[in-house]
């Protein structure tokens, strides 16, 4: 079997001093991740056979007549699937007055979309955070 992971990441940023004492900046990071198993069928043809692997258990379970039959484990390749998107966005601005007092505002978005949750549950979340603070240089 093959296990493949693939990720695309984009980073951008901008920084602009609108006035000598007023600046604005923004940055964005986006990642798209994928992971999956392929060529899983090889499992069926290359296994080491054993009596219990092909045991006729039809009398016990007619819906699964042969023990460990690959036909009944055909969802295994999806267990390791990975499919997520992550976006971190930040926008901030600062204004510094002549007397050393500054005003700062910041907006941050954390976004994580877990499109194929499994053992850890759905880890997706979206959080917006707004920050504001005053600074004084002396």
């Amino acid at each position: 079997m093959d296990y493949r992971t693939e990720a695309h990441t984009i980073l951008t940023s901008i920084s602009y001093n609108i006035l000598p004492n007023w600046s604005i900046s923004s940055d964005l990071a986006y990642t798209m991740g994928r992971g999956d198993i392929t060529n899983f069928d090889d499992f069926n043809s290359h296994r080491y056979d054993d009596a219990k692997l092909d045991l006729d258990v039809s009398s016990v379970n007619p819906n699964m007549p042969y023990l460990y039959d690959a036909a009944y484990t055909n969802q295994m390749d999806s267990y390791s699937d990975l499919d997520y998107e992550q976006l971190d966005f930040n926008l901030s601005t600062s204004y510094i007055m002549d007397n050393g007092i500054g005003l700062h505002f910041n907006y941050t978005l954390f976004y994580f979309d877990d499109q194929d949750p499994y053992v850890y549950g759905d880890q997706g979340n979206t959080v917006h955070v707004l920050s504001g603070f005053l600074s004084y240089r002396f």
Binding site: R4, T12, V57, V60, Y68, Q86, F110, N125, L130
Partner: protein, 641 residues
């Protein structure tokens, strides 16, 4: 919008307040400077309790736990009368703080200190992959249908007997804390003191101190009393403290520099104890059967006999390290650096009255490490320089004495003789460590400046590892690696620069699990079939002899060949536009596993642009592509009993 209001009110108030301070400060002499910042954060969409939220922005973020949190920070610097102080701090929440500072007294005594604290949200494994009932009771009669379909009663979330299913081949799980959100608060405090003696500038003393603390809850898992078919998880309170003290003295005598340092580490654990109850441990088929020492259980208590078995323990430990280093600047072109490091790590949690089921050996377990290394750097000419280096590392771990409780075996001597070759089959033995090894490394690299703008580099490294107890751990006796590297650094013109190289690795007997997979035909038939030997102990009921030791194929996810080219470049496209790119490919394989090969293809590529159309405006953009593919043999786990 309600949450934004406190920020605005506080901002307006502080503007007025700080404006008053600025007038007062301006009137004084300027031998100091600093800043203060006060404000707050509003989490407009707090983390939902239903979200495990351990990924994305939530993983290390403390302020999203509350709708409103404060932000207080500041810096301070002053320099007067040979006393220099520099400090900074930022408080976001009780779980998110950082402070740092330094104090210099006439540059004779210099003290630096840093502290930070942050949250780390941990994963919660809901164990959804541990539900494999291959014999569901589809007909609903609750009756076993054959030798491999005995009836099993599953405990519910409270540990009480619940639903009944049918089938010996089962694995299932119970989460005793399904709503718990696990997290750890990690804090680190580091201190550095440096003493320079003006009368002896060649002599310097330093003391470093490091204190790390991890406190919180994490998820722990173990088997239940029903052994390996039933996995139980719960929350565990953890509290770990690591304290390092590291004095160091260095002395320079002409062309020779000497250095000695010592490090003492205390790792203290005050976690909650977690245990699971056992009964009828591995009893096997019939209650009257005498069990052979699994977990040390003698099974004499009968079906109602329970014993608490501790699990998921982190031991207290200490580590002492001595390091001696010498550097000899033979002349302007040749330098030799040599060092020797000895360390002793001690597990201090096991020196209690001998009780093998609880992991107490009646003595400490110590790991000794000896590391010696030397490097010779030489510049033959303005164009050619080389390094020669070597390293030797010896590890020696204690071998604790294992004494299983004496068992009664009803096998005949002839039957027992069939199993005497199996390493861990005896009642009493010394547990051999996988750490015990000798590692050798030798290498050389040469740098040749062929042209003013072209530099070539060639390197070779030889590694060899010998493992003392390879047969106990089913790994290769030794591994040998040859690593070849060639690279070039070429400045094509004033605007364009290229850097590329190729690395090849050839490994003999890579680290692998020998007998890792593929039991031969008939193994599971040899593994004890219920119904036979019901009144006596039967070694064939254990996996070791018919399955584990009988496997025929190796498994490893480490390569015995690696091909790894790389290239990166910088292009100064115009005065306002810069770019860079990088591309790295890795092909690795292991075709020495006795079964299916292991193979890896990996690509990492990226492009970055920085555009500065005017002094006040900067734009940047980057893209990275990551691709990784493993080809490996898939092995299905067999549950049988």
């Amino acid at each position: 919008m309600i949450k934004i209001k406190p920020i605005l009110i506080m901002t307006i108030f502080l503007t007025v307040f700080a404006g008053g301070i600025s007038v007062q400060a301006a009137e004084e002499e300027k031998w100091y400077s600093g800043s203060i910042e006060i404000g707050g954060n509003a989490a407009l969409d707090e983390l939902k309790r239903s979200e495990s939220g351990a990924k994305g922005g939530a993983e290390y973020n403390s302020i999203i736990d509350k709708e409103w949190s404060s932000r207080i920070g500041g810096t301070l610097f002053f320099d007067r009368n040979d006393i220099t102080f520099q400090g900074s701090g930022l408080y976001l929440s009780g779980d998110d703080q950082e402070y740092g500072g330094s104090l210099s007294l006439g540059r004779v005594l210099i003290y630096r200190s840093e502290y930070n604290r942050f949250i780390h949200r941990l994963d919660h494994d809901y164990m959804e992959n541990l539900e494999a009932h291959i014999f569901p009771d589809l007909d609903g009669d609750g009756l076993a249908g054959g030798n491999w379909a005995s009836e099993v009663t599953l405990p519910d979330d409270n540990g009480v007997d619940g639903a009944t299913t049918v089938g010996a081949a089962n694995v299932y799980s119970t989460d005793l804390d399904p709503n718990e959100q696990y997290k750890v608060i990690r804090s680190l405090w580091e201190n550095h003191v440096k003493l320079n003696i003006p009368q002896i500038p060649e002599l310097k003393f330093t003391i470093n101190h490091r204190f790390e603390e991890r406190k919180g809850h994490k998820q722990v898992m173990s088997n239940s009393k029903c052994l390996s078919c039933h996995v139980v998880s719960m929350g565990k309170k953890i509290h770990e403290k690591t304290n390092d003290f590291s004095p160091k003295v260095s002395l320079r005598l002409g062309t020779v520099a000497l250095e000695y340092s010592y490090m003492h580490r205390e790792f203290d654990v005050n976690d909650d104890d977690v245990t699971f109850l056992t009964n009828d441990l591995g009893r096997g088929w019939a209650p009257e059967r005498v069990q052979y020492g699994r977990y040390g259980e003698d099974n004499t208590g009968g079906a109602s006999y329970y014993e608490e078995v501790p699990f998921s323990r982190t031991p207290d430990s200490t580590k002492d390290t001595h390091k001696a280093k010498i550097r000899w600047d033979i002349n302007g072109s040749n330098t030799v650096v040599a060092s020797y490091i000895y360390s002793k790590s001690t597990n201090e949690a096991v020196d209690r009255e001998y009780d093998i089921i609880s992991g107490y050996y009646g003595e400490d377990i110590e790991l000794d490490s000896h590391l010696a290394q030397i490097k010779w750097s030489s510049r033959l000419s303005r164009a050619i320089s080389f390094n020669l280096y070597g390293k030797y590392h010896h590890l020696d771990n204690d071998e604790p004495f294992i004494d299983k409780r004496d068992q009664i075996s009803q096998l005949t001597p002839a039957q027992l003789a069939l199993y005497e070759d199996y390493v861990y089959w005896e009642d009493e033995y010394r547990r051999k460590s996988g750490y015990d090894s000798d590692k050798y490394l030798a290498g050389a690299n040469l740098t040749w400046k062929v042209l003013r703008d072209l530099k070539l580099r060639f390197g070779y490294e030889f590694k060899h590892e010998e493992r003392d107890n390879y047969e106990y751990h089913n790994v290769p006796e030794d591994t040998t690696e040859h690593i070849l590297e060639a690279s070039a650094d070429w400045r094509v013109n004033r605007h364009f620069k290229l850097d590329g190289g190729l690395e090849l690795e050839f490994i003999d007997d890579q680290y692998a699990a020998i007998k890792g997979t593929c039991p031969p035909w008939g193994s599971f038939d040899r593994y004890g079939s219920p119904g036979a030997l019901v009144d006596r102990f039967d070694p064939a009921r254990a996996y070791e002899q018919p399955i584990y030791s009988a496997r025929v194929a190796e498994r490893s996810n480490l390569p015995n060949f690696v091909f790894q080219p790389r290239i990166k470049g910088h292009w100064h496209i115009s005065p306002s536009l810069n770019s860079s790119f990088h591309l790295k490919y890795r092909y690795a394989e292991n075709d020495d596993l006795g079964g299916r090969d292991w193979q890896q293809d990996q690509v990492v590529a990226g492009l970055n642009l920085v555009y500065t159309p005017m002094e006040k405006l900067t734009l940047s953009a980057g893209y990275t592509y990551f691709y990784d593919k493993y080809e490996s043999q898939f092995c299905i786990a067999i549950y049988d009993g």
